[in-house]
């Protein structure tokens, strides 16, 4: 972290590494603190929150967003976005259901779904890197395309009869504790993501590309290759999340995970990842994901209506975007 600031251009505003990171850390800390405070309040005052079953629900239902938020954070940090993740989850689930109905072996199906995710990510990657198209427009198109293909593949069927041991993995808990079984692979993924983004050269190049793709290119970073690998990873993680989704809810339909992309984007934003690129931490994104998930769980338990919950989410989102900017202006060292 310290050594890379020497090479960063000393321009005011977006370029400075250490003050920018400092500013983000403050927002990360805020989100993390909010999460801890919320958990504390909920455990002591909200009925029905603080037991193993509810916590396992909370974690289990938040896992899809938590999983996709990992590569999405890296993608946003590099200055791009992928709105097709929800459709990739849905397509992966639809393919899983369709192949299962055709009698294919479950392990083979999972491998095929993973490959499918790679392909979906590759399509996005090529359109953005080879043709230079804006990722927002591209992923809006692929969002419709993948969801459309899911509809064609599975049609009106709903597939539910997957093998019990796989379903148990999707919705079971570790020995009756508050941790769902599926949290283990997620922890591995999260650890991997944190190491890659915050402790490797690749991770540094991701931030560099986000801060200024041109400067990064001149500094020798293979910008296109970085973006390509990020999109492909996002596609892979999304399709695996699709498999998890089907097993967790024991249901494969073409409309699985509709709207998931907005939840991921909202959580990543809440965690302080800057949409201009070049700033953010995975810790913040993960904290944002679980803050939103916990908030929804607690609000439902407290009988807050669904509409009011949406208002809270919207306000939080707006505040989370204004927050880091305000923090940067208030702290003189971040100028």
């Amino acid at each position: 972290m310290a050594d890379s600031t020497d090479t960063a251009p000393a321009t005011a505003g977006a370029g400075l590494r250490r003050p920018a990171l400092f500013g983000t850390l403050r927002w990360d800390a805020v989100v993390g603190a909010l999460l801890v405070v919320l958990l504390g309040i909920s455990f002591s005052t909200v009925d029905g929150f603080g037991n193993a079953l509810n916590i396992s629900f909370l974690i289990g239902n938040t896992l899809p967003v938590a999983a996709i938020a990992l590569p999405m954070t890296m993608l946003v940090a590099s200055g791009e976005i992928d709105l097709s993740v929800g459709s990739t989850v849905g397509l992966s689930g639809a393919v899983m259901g369709a192949l299962w109905n055709h009698g294919m072996n479950i392990n083979a199906i999972i491998v095929i779904c993973a490959l499918l995710g790679l392909v979906c990510g590759l399509i996005n990657a090529l359109l953005v890197t080879k043709l230079g198209l804006p990722s927002l427009a591209v992923t809006i198109g692929t969002m419709a395309l993948y969801r459309g293909v899911a509809q064609i593949v599975l049609g009106s069927n709903s597939v539910t009869d997957f093998p019990q041991n796989y379903l148990d993995f999707g919705s079971g808990r570790l020995g009756g504790s508050f941790l769902p079984t599926a949290v283990l692979p997620w922890l591995v993924l999260a650890a991997l993501a944190v190491v890659v983004l915050h402790a490797t050269g690749f991770g540094r190049s991701v931030f560099a590309v986000g801060a200024s793709a041109e400067a990064a290119w001149f500094a020798g970073v293979r910008v296109k290759r970085v973006k390509l690998s990020l999109f492909v990873t996002t596609g892979l993680v999304s399709s695996l999340t699709g498999v998890f989704w089907v097993l967790h809810y024991a249901s494969a339909t073409y409309s699985n995970a509709t709207g998931l992309e907005l939840s991921v984007v909202a959580a990543v934003l809440l965690g302080g990842v800057d949409f201009d690129g070049g700033r953010g931490t995975l810790g913040g994104a993960i904290a944002g994901v679980f803050l939103l998930g916990t908030l929804q769980n607690v609000m439902s338990l407290a009988d807050v209506s669904a509409q009011s919950q949406t208002v809270v989410t919207g306000v939080l989102l707006t505040v989370s975007v204004l927050g880091p900017r305000v923090a940067r202006q208030l702290l003189p060292s971040t100028r």
Partner: protein
């Protein structure tokens, strides 16, 4: 002899300087022409397959279906031209449709109801413009937040109430589907709006400044363009048009509830992008956006008319969007290459 050659040599660089601009203008017009051609081909092909497709009723239907989207797309196009995006249009449409309906249900004047919808929409637009201009926040993020907030406030206000056909004055409903033979009144209204906004963008200084600011906000600001004011005006216009679309939605469908307009923003953005208004800002026209809207809604009519299952619609929409932006980009790269070689030619003429 030498005098004439030097004279022609002097003329050539001049031509090399002016022709790129003519070339770009031609290309832009070509872009809208391209959509028009695709649209015409699609409609004619369908008519050949199904002779009742372009009957008077059929044409009226095509125009009516597109009207709402055209209105919102025109507003959105202006915002995208300035280099921003407004994702809250769906929520605004929903809220204004219900507001207009509520007024009409209690015996209000239809013109007043439309005016209320427009004002309400403009108000939301101003709120977006304020956050984007003042807070220096990327518009994608701001309008994502307002999408949630407006939708939620709408749900809370509307609850489970609904506006149904029996509560609306019949004149309002007739306005929603009648017209002059094959041209519906709603389509006429949308065309008037389209031409007005298009004329303003092309022929007024403040309109052209929107393009400048979309191309390069910093340069525009340094050149003395009041960036914040233009951005605010763009968002207010977008919101106002979304409001108008809400009132007309009510006339057309005679129904509004808490879910009206949900998810519409993505359709609008697709229409705008297919119509050639690039996300990087500073290019495209509202006519292109209108044609894009017409194209997208027509596909949804063409497919059932030729017997293709509606299961294919979403995939086709996605492919169309990707094709549109890819073709745009490839053409732009070609043009850039062409310009570079022209410039090289001009330079070699001057030097040599």
């Amino acid at each position: 002899m030498t005098a004439s050659t030097t004279a022609t040599a002097a003329e050539q660089p001049l031509m090399a300087v002016t022709s790129p601009r003519r070339l770009i203008d031609r290309v832009l017009r070509m872009r809208e022409l391209a959509i028009l051609v695709v649209l015409a081909v699609m409609l004619v092909a369908t008519q050949i397959d199904n002779t009742s497709f372009l009957s008077e009723q059929g044409i009226k239907d095509l125009l009516l279906n597109a009207t709402i989207l055209v209105l919102v797309a025109v507003g959105e196009a202006v915002v995208v031209i300035t280099g921003n995006v407004d994702l809250s249009v769906g929520s605004v449409l929903g809220v204004t449709a219900f507001a207009a309906g509520d007024l009409l249900r209690h015996g209000g004047n239809p013109v007043l109801a439309i005016g209320l919808a427009v004002l309400l929409g403009a108000g939301f637009g101003a709120f977006n413009g304020l956050l984007v201009g003042l807070g220096q926040v990327p518009s994608l993020v701001v309008t994502l937040g307002t999408l949630y907030i407006i939708r939620a406030l709408d749900s809370i206000w509307v609850g489970s109430r609904e506006i149904t056909a029996s509560r609306l004055p019949s004149g309002y409903k007739t306005f929603g589907h009648d017209g002059l033979s094959a041209i519906p009144y709603l389509a006429l209204l949308a065309t008037v709006v389209l031409i007005a906004v298009g004329y303003f963008l092309r022929n007024y200084r403040s309109g052209r400044e929107c393009y400048a600011l979309g191309s390069h906000a910093q340069a525009a600001s340094l050149a003395g363009i009041p960036v914040r004011r233009r951005v605010m005006a763009a968002f207010v216009l977008c919101g106002a048009l979304a409001g108008l679309a809400g009132a007309l939605y009510l006339a057309r469908f005679s129904y509004a509830d808490a879910g009206t307009g949900s998810g519409y923003e993505l359709t609008v953005v697709s229409a705008v992008v297919v119509g050639g208004v690039g996300f990087t800002g500073g290019s495209g026209s509202v006519y292109g956006a209108a044609l894009g809207a017409l194209l997208l809604t027509s596909i949804n009519s063409v497919l059932p008319a030729i017997g293709v299952s509606s299961v294919w619609v979403e995939a086709i929409d996605g492919v169309l969007l990707l094709l549109a932006i890819s073709v745009d980009r490839i053409v732009a790269l070609r043009i850039a290459g062409l310009l570079r070689s022209r410039a090289r030619q001009a330079r070699s003429v001057i030097d040599g």
